[in-house]
Amino acid sequence: MRSDKIFNADNDNQLTFEQAQAIIDKKKSLVLVGNPNVGKSLFFNFLSGMYVDVSNFPGTTVSISKANYKKYDLYDTPGIYGVSSFNEEEEVARDIILSGDIIINVVNSLHLERDLFLTLQLIDMGKKIAVLLNFSDEVTKRKIKINDEKLSEMLGVPVIKTSAADEIGFDRLDEAIENAKIGNQKLELQFLIQQVMDKGVSQPESLLILEGDEIVAKRNNVPCGTPDEREKIYITRRNLVNEIVDTVEHEDSKKGEFFNLLGKLSLNPKTGIPVLAIILTIVYFFIGDVISQRVVDYTENTLGINTFEYYTKSFVSEYTATSIDVEILDDEDNVINQKSFSFPEGIKALPLSGKEFKDFSSQPGATSTFHFENKIVRLFFGEFGVVTMTITYLLFLLMPLVIGFYFVMALLEDSGYLPRLATMLDRSLNKIGLNGKAVIPIMLGFGCVTMANITTRILGSNREKTIVTAILQFAIPCSAQLSVIAVLLTGAGIGPMAIYATVIFTVLIGLSTLLDKLIPGESSPLLIDLPVMQVPKLKNVLKKTIFRTSGFMKEAGVWFFVGALAVGFLEITGILYVFQDVLAPLTTKWLLLPKEAANAFVMGMVRRDFGAAGLFSMTLSTMQITVAIITITLFVPCIASFVVMLKERGWKEGLTIWFGTWFTAFLVGGIVAQIII
């Protein structure tokens, strides 16, 4: 019945269900492959009309994007320099390439020697490919001449010149895809490949096995090639690439054009540190002042607390027992008027005083505090309510900060500065068992530790991931916490500020040096290519920011709710207060702080800024403030970063780090207290 209606109503241009199914099944796959930063994602965006991460730093396209393009399934893959199984990204890319019907190989025309290596490997795999000589705009600018016809002839596959940035050559994409071919293969290699193929292995896999890919060998149950064999293949291929490049490329004016002063300046510490200082100052004004003061002040208070929470809580109060305190504040935050309302059966039951409450609380400067009687209602809508507080926190406090940080990172990334910064800091980071790349997650940690925990994925080895994850949880205050700490510290003066910075920095160095000694193995050395410095394209930077922010929200958002639920549960059951009592002796005798300071620590488990903000309401000496914020900074990360850390690093390591922060926070906080108070 159903198929009649859908498929046979208009017989001339509708397919039968079976026909449609057959076409879907036969859909061919089109795979974009290339080194990092060659423009794959831009082509993917163009062909699919969808947005994926456009990135300049190796290792950021972790997941695979898939879309429809005409009769094809189109895939974007992580950037790779060759097909093999050295890391997760390569494995993912390898499998998509193996299953792909047509490969679109995107090449950076400025770096033919590097990029054609992969092209030749794809040809050796016997895949149907088409080559896009991208960055042709830059090639023209630098007066380089590339003979695409000759290249096409030498490779035996279609080659077209493109510029993903200026949309050059896009009209010829379809033609190139349709004409994609298996390229010219070297006879000697073909002979070797045939020997593996005789064991019943496909050609592409045979090549990978010869090149020593153990995973593919195991999958096919055949012995794996030796490192010597791989090297022989690689060197032959490298020589062929050099020969091809010599033939097809001519440069009229060598050097000069690509000499990039700023790029050079940012590499050497002597000039690079001033450059970094200038950049950090600008970033500080943008994030510290514009975003975290002005923007967040508006979003958190006006949109979050006074609009979203107020209306949500008022609505809930209609139906449930509640008492409400309303305070009217003037511009200097002095209370100029206040009133309390009580609705034992909800506002609905008392329409008259309900109206009075609404009028009174909608005056300018009004803040309403709702006290719900019912514990479950409190759990969801109370001061720390899973719905009310978490939404305000996530959308109106954290999101503007996360957007700000991703925006800055995207600017630095697309300009080509970030890999240079990593290079400049490499030697210093070596001392604590890391390489230069580690600066990226650490910088992001000052925005949001949860976000930084996810970014540790770009690091080369588990050892580095562990060290950086630990540093992030112990010693890096996130922006939410930092803004509260900054207010407390500026009140306290220069001395406390210096003590705070020294102690936290010492812990950071001590911790990472210790981990570097304790964790067996070696960290990976720095080996990165430095892309040309250029002015970033705003459109790409914005797109990247949006894409990453939504990725972060999807990945981490839910854990903020789970965390709030867990603490809410501890609160209703009273376990939270037990915690506070248990901590009390430690707080008063060892940290020399008032008993209520323990509340600040416990709340810090939910939201790190809560911990710090709790200190405002206490009367503390400046030295007590110093001890308290040192302890809170070193203390556990917020619940969301805790969960994300467990997911990234596993239970054992995650819990060790978590308990480690308890220990360190109280140990160090206490020692400082004994000295300065």
């Binding site: 320099y81 060759g82 093999s84 050295f86 400025l110 770096h111 020697e113 590097r114 290596f117 992969l118 490192p227 791989r230 090297e231 690689y234 060197i235 490298r238 490049v245 690509f258 790029g263 050079k264 590499l267 050497n268 510490p269 890999p419 240079r420 990593a422 290079t423 400049m424 490499d426 030697r427 210093s428 070596n430 390489n435 230069g436 050395p525 720095l526 080996l527 990165i528 290519d529 430095l530």
Partner: protein, 75 residues
């Protein structure tokens, strides 16, 4: 002309690669366009021995720990 390791390369001078460390790292280097017998240009030598080399238009940063395992002819 004398033999040494890449971390000793002088800024602004060409170096010829004699041998690369074995294993995965060698493969990664060859892919980036650095193989035995190549002559590359030392663009910068940062304090501590991080080396930036240039081959054609490609700039590559190599950490000290790797650079001191790459045997080269210094010029």
């Amino acid at each position: 002309m004398n033999n040494g390791t890449l971390d000793k390369a002088k800024k602004g001078s060409p170096v010829t690669i004699l041998s690369l460390p074995e294993g995965e790292i060698k493969v990664r280097l060859i892919r980036l366009g650095i193989s035995e017998g190549d002559t590359v240009f030392c663009l910068e030598r940062l304090p501590g021995g991080t080396i930036i080399i240039q081959k054609n238009r490609q700039e590559i940063a190599i950490g000290f720990d790797l650079a001191n395992k790459i045997k080269v002819i210094l010029q």
